[in-house]
């Protein structure tokens, strides 16, 4: 309750309001996912106090996700893999002239799932903190290895390409001055590189520049067909009856996936889609615009993204590209998430959690009335749209340090992003590797320093050993299943 008294000041509410609107505005733009939205809007918060900034972020975060689903439904261009399931039925509903109810079930479903998930985060976080306080460096290192394994190897179409992306990120994370020995590593005498590579630069390069190069080269001459919103936004009684069980089921599916460091909202959204398809009383509508098929995945997405705040806040471990960018935003404020944060800066934590509730409410009251405006954003011609995206994205990366080196890196990462998109190499592991790699290195070296250099420390501590064993199992499981099938 104390948290609300912090975030409910008029000024902070205003920041939340601005964050929600901007987040939705940028999130609606095709090809701009939530991670890029947060990265692009990061410079806007540099002069705010941490509480105000975090509240604005909560708004941006939720706005970006909702904006993305609007685009997904009307244009059938999922901005991120977690929206693919929403696109399946959502775009069909729009084609059948039911875009209004589809958008409404998304908005209300996001609200319901987001609110329940935030309550669960509030209840769960202190419990996790209790456990996390008992963790030593070895346990932390093992947890981070687990997070690496799930984001790189388990999700995505290929283990080897996921791991390649992760190791690229880890390598980039090495660049700069080693925090423990002040040794400069892989900086090639470039002073700007000594501070390390900023996650925002990598995220903007891979997502915005890479995307612009890719879409320009392969999809700039395509006709895009946007569905119009015909009729009202309101859901009929039947729509409500079919939506709410889907929202609740999806929350139950999405939240656990987000809160264990299992990475990504992709699996729970497809799982929810499959569950709704199986349980529905109208199986004939699936594939032609069934409202459960929109309500479920969208709610699952929101629940899982909110659930991802548990590992992020209590352990300091991001499990998605968006969470990685959020973590770097925290670091810019000198805030290092982890169990100590709950003890040292309780005001900030509870203020943030309270602002998540507020962000959810703001989203609901803002977005349905403003949907007409978001649709107008989608009618911006593609050349101007991508030119604008690049102007704002490069601004976000440049204003961090006012450095031309950052702009050059942006282009290099853009070429990398183009290649990764073209040859189907996932991008998120690289971003998570960049920010989590140095943290994992620190924990590993601490653990080894305590054990006086004996590497068996990771395998003799029971918790650390079991987490590492689990990670290893996850890594080799697909190969074993495949071999078993071949026999």
């Amino acid at each position: 309750m104390h948290g609300f008294s912090i975030s409910l000041t008029p000024l902070n509410l205003l920041w939340g309001f601005i964050g929600t609107i901007l987040g939705t505005f940028i999130g609606v733009l095709p090809g701009v996912g939530p991670a890029l939205t947060v990265a692009m809007l990061l410079p806007l918060t540099v002069k705010l106090d941490p509480t105000g900034a975090l509240i604005m972020f909560a708004g941006i975060y939720y706005g970006a996700m909702y904006g993305g689903s609007t685009t997904t439904i009307l244009l059938n261009t999922p901005g991120e893999s977690a929206s693919i399931a929403t696109a399946l039925e959502g775009n069909m509903m729009a084609k059948n002239g039911r875009a209004g109810p589809a958008l409404a079930t998304c908005a209300i479903g996001s609200f319901v799932a987001g609110t329940i998930a935030t309550i669960l985060v509030t209840l769960l976080a202190p419990v996790v903190v209790e456990i996390a306080l008992k963790f030593g460096p070895a346990e932390y290192f093992a947890l981070m290895v687990f997070a690496f394994t799930t984001v790189a190897a388990v999700i995505g179409s290929s283990t080897v390409r996921g791991l390649t992306s992760l190791f690229l990120g880890l390598l980039l994370g090495i660049v700069g001055i080693d925090s423990q020995t002040a040794q400069s590593r892989f900086a090639f005498g470039v002073p700007e590189l000594l501070d390390g590579i900023d996650v925002v630069v990598l995220a903007v390069g891979l997502f915005a520049v890479g995307e612009a190069l890719y879409v320009g080269a392969y999809a700039s001459r395509l006709e895009e067909k946007m569905e119009q919103i015909k009729g009202g936004l309101w859901m009929s009684k039947e729509d409500w009856k079919r939506s709410w069980p889907a929202w609740l089921r999806a929350t139950a599916i999405g939240f656990p996936f987000g809160s264990i460091p299992a990475g990504g909202a992709e699996i729970p959204t497809f799982l929810s889609y499959a569950v709704e398809k199986r349980l529905t009383k109208h199986p004939e509508e699936f594939g032609h615009g069934a409202i459960e098929g929109v309500a479920g995945p969208e709610a699952a997405n929101n629940a899982s993204v909110t659930g991802a705040l548990v590992p992020l806040l209590t352990l300091g471990i991001p499990t998605s590209a968006t969470a990685a960018v959020l973590l770097s935003a925290f670091q810019n404020y000198g805030i290092s998430p982890g169990p100590m944060l709950f003890q040292m800066q309780p005001d900030l934590v509870w203020g943030l959690l309270a602002s998540l509730y507020i962000g959810n409410v703001l989203l609901l009251i803002l977005n349905l009335p403003l949907v007409g405006m978001w649709v107008k954003v989608l009618t911006i011609p593609q050349p101007l749209l991508y030119a604008g995206i690049l102007v704002f994205a490069t601004l976000g990366a440049y204003s961090l340090h006012q450095s031309v080196v950052d702009l050059i890196m942006l282009y290099v990462f853009g070429l990398l992003g183009f290649a990764m998109r073209r040859w189907d190499i996932p991008v998120a592991p690289a971003i998570i590797g960049l920010i989590l790699g140095p943290l994992a290195e620190t924990q590993a070296r601490r653990a080894l320093a305590i054990s006086q250099g004996d590497p068996s420390v990771f395998f003799t501590h029971p918790i650390s050993a079991s987490i590492l064993a689990l990670s290893f199992l996850l890594l080799i499981l697909p190969a074993i299943v495949k071999m078993a099938r071949l026999r």
């Binding site: 410079p43 806007l44 540099v46 002069k47 179409s157 290929s158 080897v160 390409r161 791991l163 190791f167 690229l168 880890l170 390598l171 090495i174 080693d178 423990q180 020995t181 040794q183 590593r185 892989f186 520049v209 612009a212 879409v215 320009g216 080269a217 392969y218 999809a219 700039s220 001459r221 395509l222 011609p381 593609q382 050349p383 101007l384 991508y386 030119a387 604008g388 690049l390 102007v391 704002f392 490069t394 601004l395 440049y398 204003s399 006012q402 031309v404 702009l407 942006l410 282009y411 290649a419 073209r422 040859w423 189907d424 290195e441 590993a444 070296r445 080894l448 320093a449 006086q452 250099g453």
Partner: protein
């Protein structure tokens, strides 16, 4: 089956990156603290990982191509064939920005970027696009400098923009 050139180049690039990282690692001091855990431990692990992954990718390249990869035929992906001009214009815009931002200033650099990218995406109205970019750059400039107190370079426009910016 013949190896696809793109996959071959990328696999070799990953392998090469791993080898370069290994070479760079060998130049780092290893003795750090009493626990013998120096700043070269993590780079060594990462370099080793990249080399292994490069070899793994090479193996996939030569044994039927990368697994579950994107379709090489752009039309089968629902896209059109590679358009070099778009790629070049977007790149040119970003180069222009790098060159201009500390000379001509933020506003002109962003306007040039805007015009080039729009051109790359098929817009034929270069002058109109430059004008839109100029307006966009100016509004961002004033918003950042006056409202957020974040300085941006004014460059050649300094006489017009007055004391704003750096």
């Amino acid at each position: 089956m013949k190896a696809k050139p793109g996959e071959l180049i990328l696999s070799l690039a990953v392998l090469g990156l791993g080898i370069s990282a290994a070479v760079g690692t060998s130049r780092l001091p290893s003795a750090g603290g009493y626990a013998r855990i120096g700043p070269d431990l993590a780079p060594a692990v990462i370099a080793g990982g990249l080399i292994l992954l490069g070899l793994w990718l090479l193996y996939e390249t030569f044994s039927g191509g990368w697994r579950n990869a994107a379709n090489d035929d752009a039309t089968a992906r629902g896209e059109h064939r590679f358009t070099p001009s778009a790629f070049i214009w977007v790149s040119a815009g970003l180069f222009a920005q790098v060159v201009l931002i500390h000379r001509a200033g933020f506003v002109l650099a962003q306007a040039a970027l805007f015009a080039c990218v729009a051109r790359g995406f098929g817009s034929a109205k270069l002058a109109r696009d430059f004008a839109i970019g100029l307006v966009l750059g100016l509004s961002v400039f004033f918003f950042f400098v006056k409202f957020l107190n974040v300085n941006l370079p004014a460059g050649w426009l300094k006489p017009i923009l007055g004391g704003a910016g750096i």
